[in-house]
């Protein structure tokens, strides 16, 4: 006599099958694509986009540091300036210690008619991790490796240290990177 299928049994079987299929599904994180080289629909830009714009001397680019004078003195992005009034047509990137304040400031600028006002996703820490200290895992896919060349070149342009390291070793803390960079006297 067969035992009836219970709800718990069916759910457990479904979980097991989905877990088993995950073994061959690959990483759930999307490969680095052209998406990171353009502003996101939510009005954010990655540190790599800002770095690219700075490097190519994008016309009308304004980088705004929302943090206090002390933090600005310690470190700021190249060409960063305090918040002020901007003209329509200028591309404004605001950043702070994190995303929240910058997101609101960018929204206010857009409300004031600056359509190309963006905020730096993940704040100033993103500049340290993504531009100055980018890492690639040795087991990265061909797609990730192709994108890596562009990142590494950009990082070196800004005095960064692109490295190929294991995933575990790549977990350098942002605070550590910031301290190391500041000790190096890297202030733009």
């Amino acid at each position: 006599m067969t035992r009836p299928v219970t709800v718990n049994g069916a759910l457990a079987t479904a979980a097991f099958v989905l877990g088993l299929a995950a073994l061959v599904a690959g990483s759930p994180y999307r490969e680095m694509s052209d998406r990171v080289w353009a502003p996101a629909p939510d009005g954010s830009v990655s540190a790599l986009v800002v770095a690219q714009w700075l490097r190519e001397r994008k016309t009308g680019l304004r980088v705004v540091d929302l943090r206090g004078p002390e933090e600005y003195e310690q470190f700021h992005l190249p060409r960063a300036e305090p918040l002020r009034a901007f003209e329509p047509g200028e591309t404004v990137v605001v950043y702070g210690a994190d995303s929240l304040e910058a997101r609101l400031a960018a929204q206010r600028l857009r409300d004031a008619g600056i359509d190309t006002a963006y905020y730096l996703a993940d704040g100033v820490a993103a500049w340290f991790t993504d531009v100055l200290n980018p890492t690639l895992s040795p087991d990265a896919s061909p797609g990730e490796r192709a994108a890596w060349e562009r990142v590494a070149e950009l990082s070196r342009y800004f005095g960064g240290l692109p490295r190929i390291v294991s995933r575990g070793a790549a977990q350098r803390s942002t605070a550590e990177v910031m301290r190391r960079t500041m000790r190096r006297g890297c202030a733009f």
Partner: protein, 193 residues
Amino acid sequence: MSAPFYEFGLFGQEASLLVALAIGVAFGFFLERGGLGNARKLAGQFYLTDLAVLKVMFSAIVTAMLGLFWLSQLGLVDLSRVYLLPTYVAPHSIGGVVFGVGFVMGGLCPGTSCVAASSGRLDGVVLLGGMLFGILLFNEAFPLVRGLYYSTDLGQVTIAQLVGLPYGVLVFAVVVVALGSFVVAERIEARAR
């Protein structure tokens, strides 16, 4: 259309707060209906007579994990835009111990104490008060513990990154451990009855 909706601008700030409220209410409702607003039921976890907490938590973990994994594989969620809480080993360990001691002493955790209080249980109200007092105390004492609070920072790290395993292997391992735990929990509960 891809999630997280808030990150991609589908929700504004206000709408996201309303969504959070709805999720919170649903969370509390199902905790209450599952009996987890009752300290006796939660204490059963420590006496190995009622392992509902373990089963609820593992069910939630496996559901969320498989959901995020496969929705990402289908291109419906961009995991790189899902916020990860940074890991601070020492302060999180100490916080875990404090949490555990409070859980054993009170029979409720922060979420279930809110559920217990809102369903009229006096112990839930007392614990909720204690929790708010603890938050106040921590904020007042923050200058003294700031060094510890920011120490041993691993950054925004996932377990797969930390141990260097592919995500698929970790997903499968968690599913197997969860299903094994359910079987063991059922046997322990049957023995206690």
